[in-house]
């Protein structure tokens, strides 16, 4: 059973005011946390998908991850997922990770893969205390049902229709770091102090 990971890091960080993937969180850039978590996991292969103007890749250590470029990230998250899969070997399922959720751990990824029953579940995700979230696992045959343009909506629709396994992690969902305020919250949650966010 081949399970690969795709880290979606092609966003433009509009609300952050600077390239959030490379903001230092503790001792490393935010994206590096996600790459490192995937690196140590049981994922067979990992792709890191960045946007067409690639200033991100130079700021991180890819390790065993394979770089990929999504020329049209504005098409949505599925276009990035496909760009990542295009540089990897054919797989039975893909685990989707996002660059702005550095709290996802190697253990989370492995537990999700462990909990997923390839015969029963077309998808798997994590049920946190405050709702469902990443990482998401999508069985390869289910990917065909999702168009790129409506990717986000259809991806969550797939999660709803299932059959989806929900791995319960008894903690708050990983923070989506989109704004300077989120960064400050993340600092508290991770117990790190960050450089002050730039003022407008």
């Amino acid at each position: 059973m081949i399970v690969v990971g795709v880290i979606v890091a092609a966003g433009e960080s509009n609300r952050m005011g600077r390239l959030k993937q490379l903001i230092e969180v503790g001792d490393r850039p935010m994206l590096q946390w996600v790459i490192d978590a995937a690196e140590a996991s049981r994922l067979d292969q990992v792709a890191v998908v960045t946007g067409p103007v690639d200033t991100v890749r130079s700021g991180v250590r890819l390790g065993r991850s394979v770089p990929a470029v999504n020329p049209h990230p504005e098409l949505g998250t599925m276009s990035s997922l496909r760009a990542g899969l295009a540089v990897l070997e054919p797989c039975d399922a893909v685990v989707k990770l996002v660059a702005d959720q550095p709290e996802v751990t190697t253990g989370d990824i492995d537990a999700l893969i462990e909990a997923w029953d390839p015969e029963l579940h077309r998808a798997a995700l994590v049920r946190y205390r405050d709702g469902d979230g990443h990482p998401l696992l999508i069985r390869a045959d289910a990917l065909a049902e999702i168009t790129d343009r409506e990717g986000d909506r259809l991806l969550w629709r797939l999660m709803e229709i299932g059959p989806t396994h929900r791995l319960v992690l008894d903690r708050q969902a990983p923070l989506d770091v989109n704004t300077p305020d989120d960064l400050a919250t993340l600092a508290v949650r991770l117990g790190h102090s960050f450089p002050a966010p730039p003022t407008a």
Binding site: R127, G162, L167
Partner: protein, 739 residues
């Protein structure tokens, strides 16, 4: 990083963990209340009214009392404390107080050396009655202003009008919960004027609060213990022999046991309210609901029990899971001399769902629309106001989702008429295949979860971690639904330790967990256990100075830094919580307000084969999609849904107490038709897991929805097969054959 636990512990939530009572139950080793014994135990038996309404002219216990082996004969005169009991209003005398108001009402009890002597002594009690004319018609009761509660709803413009109008009148018969285990209890006096009671109950603290008052003792002199229960479904939410058995134990100074036989069990507990319902729906030509109006009468029997709350549910869910801006509903619970009615799975929503779903099918036919499209067009969703109360729905509510996912389930293959086991007449070979018609029907429902209307609804739990593992102390009652297993799973997941034991607590040991009803225990006691378990884990990590906790002990950075032995050497880690759901409120004079804490929807599709010649129905398959929040134990969820559907099938085509002037004519399992495994349809299901805002891990209660819309789905399928109107459940053979 995080210091919280997750499901990597074995036996945590999301797994189909096997229930601890499973093997003892199927091997006959489980101790039900009726199996309990004590040294020197006496047996109790009950004298009951043979009439639904009669004046007690003479009662002479002297002959019974003089019989060898008889130790006490008690009547209403012997009740030392409050002479009445009742959950909402204490209006029911402990024994007949001069007038019997329903058939089988207790008149006296006898304590004797053995059950046979007790029953002979009951027969020896001299009793003379003056029979009265019972009030048995609910409309007559309403006309005579014999009303327990009138719940009105007025919302929007009462004069709004639609282009298409559908009216209907519906009836629901009296269904019995028919738990296999009858009412049973053992009371043991403590020698100091107090008593310990083990009794079939869904809510020990509520019973306790009624019992001590009637015994005339202090609250702490009565301790009610949870015990093994063979099913409840609402029948154990109101009291039966509780006070009687305690009175006898205190009078004789010896343990006393009572077990109702099947015949006395039927009048010995409350039933589902029979109902009569008038409905009017108005819609635009494109199928948008404009106005609905309903009058709902429920037969409350002689005493209040939970009728006021059942009426509230019937009224506030009268419109179903649909958006309507203009609503007029009048719900009534009336007083009659019919057998007692109260809580039963679905609690008032079953009756109205049968009516509103039939209305939706009729409206669709009138409009020339697909009945599911009509439902989806008007479906309630999260963020909408409830059509009756106006309460904004803040929980997930995937009404369209349950319909879509239900339809996606494949239909069963066509009837194989060569196999007699597949025909409605079965191996009796009574069915001629040419008379068999197949039908398919749908229904959708919405139900509230937990207690409503400003009731102070809470559940207490205490979670204790020591060197041997975790103990969860709770007064929540396991009635067979699998709660104990789910509580174990929640504690394991939240703490990270696999060894978890659930300790049933008596009323003196811990505060109330509320009733095991209203689909509430997973969310309420589950919520309490989750809160307490999280606090235990946090304190254990702080004590041990670590970042993870497992069955071995406390860990820091992947290294074991303190064993459980050392962690708990000085004292166990213990936390007690009292969990409350978001507050609910009384409605105003127009039924407007926020009376409910959470909601869930479900949809059912039934496939039936009907023998149109003999009026027999075989329910082939009932499929469902249900809004469950999260499957904490998938196998348990499936079991609850399958069982609930079977109870809904029972109401559709089999189960009814037949009454004659208030007397039950079929008070036995020979004559009260219950579905058996042979009647059980195949069930395919889709589980929709959109989180509840306050259920543990987003879980919602799941116990009631399977019973609610399965009944109208089966009826719709029979209508589809036969073309008949069928406005009454259960459907009898003569309703189909017209003879």
């Amino acid at each position: 990083m995080t210091t919280d636990a997750d499901t990597r512990v074995r036996g945590g939530i999301g797994e189909s963990v096997k229930r601890p009572d499973g093997i003892p139950k199927v091997t006959g080793n489980f101790a039900y209340a009726s199996d309990l014994t004590a040294d020197g135990m006496l047996w109790g038996a009950t004298l009951r009214s043979p009439f639904a309404s009669a004046r007690l002219v003479r009662l002479d216990i002297s002959a019974a009392l003089a019989m060898p082996g008889v130790h006490a004969v008690l009547t209403q005169e012997d009740v030392p404390g409050r002479k009445t009991f009742g959950q909402i209003t204490p209006d029911q005398p402990v024994f007949v107080d001069g007038e019997a108001r329903f058939w089988g009402e207790p008149v006296a009890v006898v304590a004797a050396d053995d059950p046979e002597t007790a029953r002979l002594a009951v027969a020896a009690i001299g009793v003379e009655w003056e029979e009265l004319t019972p009030l048995v018609d609910m409309e007559e009761a309403l006309a005579g202003d014999e009303v327990f509660r009138h719940a009105p709803v007025r919302r929007g413009d009462p004069d709004a009008r639609g282009e298409v109008v559908v009216e209907g009148y519906y009836e629901v018969g009296m269904q019995d919960q028919a738990p296999l285990g009858t009412e049973a209890g053992l009371a043991i006096p403590d020698g100091e004027g107090g008593v310990d009671l083990w009794v079939t109950s869904q809510w020990t603290h509520e019973d306790h609060d009624q019992i001590w008052r009637s015994l005339g003792v202090e609250p702490d002199q009565v301790r009610q213990h949870p015990t093994g229960i063979g099913g409840a479904f609402g029948a154990r939410e109101d009291m039966s022999l509780h006070i009687h058995v305690c009175l006898m134990a205190l009078r004789t100074g010896r343990p006393v046991k009572m077990v109702y036989n099947r015949q006395e069990s039927f009048p010995g507990h409350v039933h589902r309210h029979p109902g009569r319902l008038w409905y009017r729906h108005e819609a635009t030509a494109d199928g948008t609901l404009v106005r609905m109006e309903a009058k709902v009468i429920l037969d409350g029997g002689a005493y209040m029990d939970t009728t006021a709350a059942v009426v509230s549910n019937a009224t506030y869910f009268a419109a179903g899971p649909y958006k309507v801006d203009n609503v007029v509903v009048d719900g009534y619970g009336v007083r009659t001399n019919n057998p007692p009615t109260g809580a039963m799975r679905g609690f008032g929503v079953v009756q109205v769902c049968f009516a509103h779903e039939t209305q939706m099918d009729r409206l669709a036919a009138e409009l020339g629309m697909d009945p599911l499209e009509l439902r989806k067009r008007n479906a309630l969703a999260s963020g909408d106001p409830m059509s009756t109360t106006g309460q904004i729905i803040e929980t997930s509510l995937p009404t369209v989702g349950v319909i879509d996912q239900l339809v996606a389930i494949p239909l069963p293959p066509p009837l194989d008429s060569e196999d007699p086991r597949r025909l409605p007449g079965g191996t009796g070979l009574t069915t001629t295949p040419q008379y068999v018609r197949r039908g398919v029907g749908y229904a959708v429902s919405i139900k509230n979860i937990a207690f409503s209307e400003a009731f102070d609804d809470f559940a207490e739990a205490r979670v204790v971690l020591d060197a041997t593992g975790v103990e969860v102390h709770t007064a929540a009652v396991e009635v067979g639904q699998g709660m104990v297993t789910v509580l174990q799973q929640i504690a394991r997941t939240a703490i990270g330790v696999e060894q978890v034991a659930i300790v049933p607590a008596d009323t003196s040991d811990i505060g109330s967990a509320g009733s095991t009803s209203a689909s509430r225990q997973t969310q309420m006691t589950g919520g309490a256990v989750l809160e307490a378990a999280r606090a235990v884990r946090a304190e254990a990590l702080e004590r041990g100075g670590g970042d993870d906790l497992t069955s071995e002990g406390v860990w820091l950075g992947g290294e074991l830094v303190m064993s459980l032995d050392d962690l708990c050497a000085a004292a166990p880690v213990s936390h007690r919580t009292r969990f409350r759901h978001p507050p609910t409120y009384e409605t105003d004079a127009n039924g407007q307000g926020d009376p409910h804490a959470d909601f869930a929807v479900a949809a059912h599709r039934a496939v039936v084969d009907v023998d149109t010649e003999l009026g027999l129905v075989r329910v082939v398959q009932v499929d469902t999609a249900q809004d469950i929040g999260l499957a904490l134990n998938p196998q348990s969820v499936r079991g609850q849904i399958e069982g609930g559907i079977l109870q809904g099938v029972g109401l559709a085509v089999m189960e009814e107490l037949i009454l004659d002037n208030g007397v039950i004519l079929n008070a036995s399992f020979t004559d009260y038709l219950l579905p058996t495994f042979l009647d059980a349809p195949d069930v395919e299901m889709a589980l929709i897991e959109e989180p509840s805002p306050w259920g543990p891990f987003g879980a919602k209660g799941i116990g009631e929805p399977p019973t609610i819309s399965s009944t109208p789905a089966v009826v719709a399928a029979i209508r589809n097969a036969t073309g008949l109107e069928l406005n009454r459940v259960p459907i009898r053979p003569q309703d189909i054959t017209g003879t």
